[in-house]
Subunit: 360 residues, 2 copies
Amino acid sequence: MNKLDETIAKIEGLDIKSMRLARERQDQLTKPKGSLGVLEELSIKMAGIQRKPLPEVNKKVIIVMAGDHGVAAEGVSAFPQEVTPQMVANFAAGGAGINVLARHAGAEVRIVDMGVASVVDIPGVIDKKIRPGTANMVEGPAMTREQAIASIEAGIEVAEAEIADGADLLGTGDMGIANTTASSAILTVFSGADLLHSVGRGTGIGAEALEIKREVITEAIRANQPDKRDGLDVLAKVGGLEIGGLAGVILGAAANGVAVLIDGFISGAAAMVAWSLCPESRSYMIASHVSVEPGHKLMLDELALKPMLFMNMRLGEGTGAALASSLVEASCKVLSEMATFAEAGVAEKSEDLSEKGAGI
Amino acid sequence: MNKLDETIAKIEGLDIKSMRLARERQDQLTKPKGSLGVLEELSIKMAGIQRKPLPEVNKKVIIVMAGDHGVAAEGVSAFPQEVTPQMVANFAAGGAGINVLARHAGAEVRIVDMGVASVVDIPGVIDKKIRPGTANMVEGPAMTREQAIASIEAGIEVAEAEIADGADLLGTGDMGIANTTASSAILTVFSGADLLHSVGRGTGIGAEALEIKREVITEAIRANQPDKRDGLDVLAKVGGLEIGGLAGVILGAAANGVAVLIDGFISGAAAMVAWSLCPESRSYMIASHVSVEPGHKLMLDELALKPMLFMNMRLGEGTGAALASSLVEASCKVLSEMATFAEAGVAEKSEDLSEKGAGI
């Protein structure tokens, strides 16, 4: 059994008993039942993931994976491919959006070279390069099936190393010129969505380039015929190295009982790959924000994940995951730190005036 | 001129020059233009509010105001009135939801007795009691016009004291059994909305009590005939002491060039009162979340404010404002701390592939 299969075999359902105990405690805290909404639900999900009734978030790590895409040659991005290594250097120097937002949230950032086209020799960047960029998916598969497996296994290794080092909440992030093209292709294959809905402007291409991007994706899917029932086939044919790596981060987190925050559109594509390989992995995913990229909402609907932040963001890098990591931490603190009705000497609800039924 | 009129006279439009400089800097940061969405817009708004191109958030204070409502006698809440002072004690002891979330966000909490029905003698609670609870608005005005003015002026004083003490971001919060009834009445008067849309279950009343609540509000508006063009008349006749106080906090923040985060439904009612007294005060408001209480979305639409957090919360106390305070702080850090394209040596966009037009 390879590392990928071993990891998938380790992924269990959430711990129902811890979730029940967390729910019972939430209902004793000094607030109307259910009135903290998603914060309550998140704390209960975290209890199920961490398999303890009082989950904690003590070390948050955002894993930003970078890779290049052969399809960039088709003119599908507003930025040149040299921006991928330049932004990796910017991450390492601490000057990018993800650095600022992770510092603000008290999260650490790991930067991983999964397949930048040029040589990356920057201190602090984890080298997991599978190959220097994918092939152009219009002309054939983006990578081989073996490389797809290797990219996922590299992601699992990164997640495992962080968890071994104490991380109890992971977040995903991405960098890679043209990676909304690969992500749109993945979404289109898995969901069958019309390209009018699954393909957007990415970093900000104009109408003409958007038309080219749709044609390129149509052609890539026609040429490669990815099998939607086989996540590895989809990843290999129309995916990306950073997308495979992030799918591995998600599977590695799930296999080790750690929650993983899904950032935006590219992370969502990785989540779809992870989900297709192991449906139970979805129980460990937490959605952060909904992106401006139109396909992102479709993706979240497919995954049945509800985002918390509506901020018209579309940067990627893990910026949405960083902001949301603070909300997950808050949910655990609410559960642990709020006083109960009994502790605070606060009167409970008059039952005769109350709404009957669940959660209120 | 009384303090209220003096305060309103001090409220100016935002500083356009600082906003332009902030926008110019945002467009030089290492990200596609506009890709941090609301975080970018917030930082620019903060520049206009603080009248400097690099706004800062160094001291966040959530002001939680408590008051009782005579209309509670009509059976419009699921909780007994004694809960108001019990929760004030819980706030002072640090055990309530707002305490946990403010601590998490690095914000301080101030607790103000604007009009709790019973005697509140708790260290740390600021005493601004105008009267021990409002009168039952079904039988006549909730308070006199003089008391309405006094409640707003007390709120202005609280805001001014915090700002003098270094606060550069305020948030509003509320506690008061039956205060969704007063807030729904305020919303109904100002917006003309149907009671089916402006009245909800508050802390969780059942269908029968909800019907009573709608009848009570209908009767209170019929009996008092509040004049929607006169915010003081609306506040006096169907408002609340904590609602007046929070309107004062908003006006006091605006008059002193400080942004104020609007929490949920009760804070939204206070924002409507502040807006009716001084339309320009709206420029200083930042919406935090959208509440489960159905009228809240209506209110935000009336105020043309866009919430950032969709978390199905309905607790009040300033809990949404506390969570959002971290986002406002993040927006200022993005503007100040991110590297520019020139600093980071990152290539800019290929203009020929770009979307033409504003903000992208």
